[in-house]
Symmetry: C2
Amino acid sequence: MPTIKDVAKRAGVSRTTVSRVLNDNGYVSHEARQRVVEAVKEMGYIPSAHAKTMRTKRSGVIGVILPRISTETASRVVNGIEEELAANGYQILLTNTQLKPEKEIENIKLLKSRQVDGIILLATNRNQDLLETIADLSIPFVALGQELTGVTSVVYDDYNSAFDVTESFISKGHQDIAFIGVPETDHAVGVVRKQGYLDAMAKHHLPVKEEWIQHGNFSFESGYQAAKQLMEDTHFKPTALFAVTDRMAIGALGYLKEKQIDVPGEVALFGIGASDLSLHVTPPLSTVDYFNEDAGQKTAQLILEQLTGKVGEKEKIKLNYRLIKRDSV
Amino acid sequence: MPTIKDVAKRAGVSRTTVSRVLNDNGYVSHEARQRVVEAVKEMGYIPSAHAKTMRTKRSGVIGVILPRISTETASRVVNGIEEELAANGYQILLTNTQLKPEKEIENIKLLKSRQVDGIILLATNRNQDLLETIADLSIPFVALGQELTGVTSVVYDDYNSAFDVTESFISKGHQDIAFIGVPETDHAVGVVRKQGYLDAMAKHHLPVKEEWIQHGNFSFESGYQAAKQLMEDTHFKPTALFAVTDRMAIGALGYLKEKQIDVPGEVALFGIGASDLSLHVTPPLSTVDYFNEDAGQKTAQLILEQLTGKVGEKEKIKLNYRLIKRDSV
DNA sequence: AAGCAATATGGAATCGATACCACATTAAGT
DNA sequence: ACTTAATGTGGTATCGATTCCATATTGCTT
């Protein structure tokens, strides 16, 4: 690998001049520039980003911490982030927590050691240690998916979307509406969405039976089991089923189809996420579109704002959503 | 950000000693070590990976070039890669070509400038410029998905799997088997899979009508259109339909259901990819599982081998596959 | 008691870039 | 013709780590 020194020698100039040509700043004569450009091409010179970062304190890299790489949501969000950042000359460095909270902190340190200029966290929990680690951090930081106190956050409108889904059932005449949620460690999905459901039920003076509230773990299988529980082990069978993720909703759908329970005739179904899957199951699943790509893009924009100085306080941004009603209701 | 110098001062030792403690090599007295460890903790010191990389010429990072981030296949492969590399102390740096061939070369340079220790390319084409760029590269390189000449490659068994799918149709009595492929720029998917289909047909002396060979672009919509074409604009209607990706197969399925054409009664259907979708559509789609995670893992292992010196020639590895027959046939 | 290996520590060079300062040379303004 | 500004170029310190070499101390062996 040739270095800037080699290029300088070949072009018959100093390293300083080569640097000037590379970064297009300072005064360089036409001939000198030409000789440098030529030398660079001939030698296949590629500047070392590390040396540059070390000297300038800017790496041009944004770290993105994902709970899991292989989910549709994460993919879409990353796409949005990538698009926006690439357009502004930044690269992204992805890390994966495999859903382990302790790995979030570990990854933040890892990214810090690599001198990333900013960090985006697709958050799944609101761990105290995590908040402290972030507070100690001296670089731009944006969380997506959970509202973290003291941290610029972009969140989906979990409450209102869940509220609307529930009301949409109610407006169709449903009264016995069951709920498939997730554990409360995931605040946005586990707590806020449930609250939206509960409040909508309360607003219409509909009782919520304890046995109608089930919990899964985001998987198809857990949705299947929750539906089974709801349809087999309850005194009052619900006529509508609201799962807080599409995967669980589709798991539930699997159970209903297996038992030949008509959807939406006997039981109506709603999910959240607008996954590819939701459109292609039978019947097509009603769901909520959170516009994940836009979310990623918005998040990236916030990081860029912080990067370019417009620090603009710790913002809280709540995103749009859209109910997609299909044949499952 | 404290540096090694600050830690040294705090602990009352030299930078050298701190480095020794950090890397656990050389002689360090018990007390000195203790003071250093304490200082590190107190100051929240995080070593600069850049300085280290610069000095040692090892970054501990493997670059992964993806055609697109948000596909199920890519996600799974990355998962496999990540798992294997993380276990060996490596991080991955993802880049995205957005399916543009020229971006592959650009990204290789980008990764090189970041001193990655190796590069994995999820290849979609066999561009000559690309091959030259790789040949010039002096770091470990593995391609996944396409067999690139002169490059260690891991490939799916496109030929035999396509052959088997076709024979599976034939063994069920089908003779009029249509094919939905993709353009030949993607050699593995566009050329090899088609050859598997053609050879299987030839082996059983079945004629292949020109009009039975359609092409899509990996999207649902293109699968839908191809099916429409096949069922509306042909003289002889096929009784079986083999799409080289699940997405196109499911697009085709959408058309068939819309026209109330019974699957598999009137038309049988096969895809490739073992996507989540394939299991949850109605009827469940028959497909081919390429074990993407294993593929990623295997690819990572090859990189690791090259990294640890066992250079072992330019290997060519062909992966296993498995036909999953479901109700669509 | 002398010699030598093992242990312990620090100084200084180095990796490859950038940036500041110094110093020419040329052009422009009065 | 002389000052001042613009242009062009190179030397050297610096970023934060590692590594080689030199030196000091200790413990063992004969």
